[in-house]
Amino acid sequence: MEVPILKQGDFLIATFQAALTDEDLLQLQDALVARVGRFRSRGVIVDVTALDVMDSFAARTLRALAHMVRLRGAETVIVGIQPEVAFAMVQLGLSLEGVPTALDLEEGLAQLMKAAERKGATFRGR
């Protein structure tokens, strides 16, 4: 099952619809990294609200995704991790260290907007 990717201004939004296979996750990773370049996006939001399990493979893929996106000059925010999922993740030893997170889509967008402003300010300041 493919994950739909929405382009909203400077940002890309990928929303998980259901449980994903490893294949789907890798596909999403490739598609997002490619599109960040094509659209010159400044931020990516991955909405995992519908995800009922985040195992080590999913966490590792999301982390790799965030790092690749960063190398292409954009910021990734993972939003919508459910309380139960977060609990199981930390027990398993997955904390998505270094990857920004937010409560939901709204918060994630606000966070990206602020990061973009800061970046803009830094550039102007130079």
Binding site: R70, E75, I81, P83, F87, V90, E97, E107, K114, A115
Partner: protein, 305 residues
């Protein structure tokens, strides 16, 4: 050679016969208990009332339960399997524990039944003392095991009930408080064990979601001691909160606990700590009022991997 073979045969022979005898005796016993079901059941119910056991229950209830226990008891004697009786004991306990029935009452009624049945066996077989002895030899171990099964079932059910109640009390003892918009405070008081640690983490995570919290202050001023399990639990709470997008500030770490944590090698760098609750709330407000945050510091920390 052939002689010793013969000897062995002779020596081996009694054992299987004795086994068969026990089975036969139990069969006879079971048929006796079935035949006299009505009378023995009544006798038992009467003795229960006389002994002032199960006072929380009415006569009809006692008789109904007595019937069910009696039938399960006979079945266990007959089949030698205890699952059905175990299941019934659990079910019975579930029903009578909320009504205040005590452990000694349950043990008491099972011992009474044992007594009632033993007496009836005496009455029936007193003419043949040898047979009576054999019957009792067969009855006794089975009866003991039955009494044990029922009593253990009751105690376990009781423990389960107590555990549930403790859980409810725990939930009340750790409130997740919203003090400002998007700011939660979790004051922890008392002893933290793994179970409580898990329960308060779950509560906090749900609280973060419902209140859309961005910052959480966990105050552990009221926590007297902390071992590595509890400390790691706290680290996990902090990590899980971050996965939901909330920053955690830990306040009230006593010098003793701080020293313990360093000694046992808990990584405190992942934790944002502030001396006291007041300072923690100030820090939280600073985090929530975005202007006060130095741009460089924030972008660096959020970009670091």
């Amino acid at each position: 050679m052939s002689k010793s073979n013969k000897d062995n045969e002779v020596k081996k022979a009694p054992e299987p016969v004795r086994g068969e005898t026990t089975a036969a005796l139990l069969r006879e016993l079971v048929s006796h208990l079935r035949q006299n079901r009505t009378q023995l059941r009544q006798e038992w119910a009467k003795r229960i009332t006389e002994a002032k056991l199960l006072t929380a229950m009415s006569q009809e209830e006692i008789f109904a339960e007595a019937t069910a226990v009696y039938d399960n008891y006979v079945e266990a004697l007959e089949t030698g399997t205890f699952e059905a009786l175990q299941g019934y004991a659990r079910n019975l306990s579930e029903r009578i524990i909320p009504r205040g029935v005590e452990t000694h009452e349950v043990v008491g009624i099972v011992l009474l039944l044992r007594d009632v049945l033993a007496r009836s066996l005496f009455a029936k077989y007193q003419h043949d003392f040898a047979l009576l002895n054999r019957i009792l030899d067969a009855y006794e171990p089975a009866a003991n095991r039955i009494a044990n099964t029922v009593a253990v079932g009751f105690v376990q059910e009781r423990e389960r009930t107590i555990r549930q109640q403790q859980e409810a009390i725990r939930e009340l003892s750790t409130p997740v408080l919203q003090v400002r918009e998007r700011l939660l405070i979790l004051p922890i008081i008392g002893v933290i064990d793994p179970q409580r640690s898990r329960q308060l983490t779950e509560q906090l995570l749900r609280g973060i979601r419902t209140n859309r919290a961005k910052v959480v202050v966990i105050d552990i001023t009221g926590v007297a001691a902390m071992d590595s399990n509890v400390a790691n639990g706290l680290v996990q709470t902090v990590e899980a909160s971050r996965l939901l997008g909330a920053t955690v500030i830990v306040t009230g770490l006593s010098p003793e606990i701080a020293q313990t944590l360093v000694t046992i090698g808990v990584d405190l760098t992942k934790m944002n700590t502030v001396g006291d609750l007041q300072g923690g709330i100030e820090e939280a407000e600073r985090l929530l009022g975005y202007k006060a945050v130095p741009v460089s510091a924030l972008s660096e920390s959020s970009l670091k991997s």
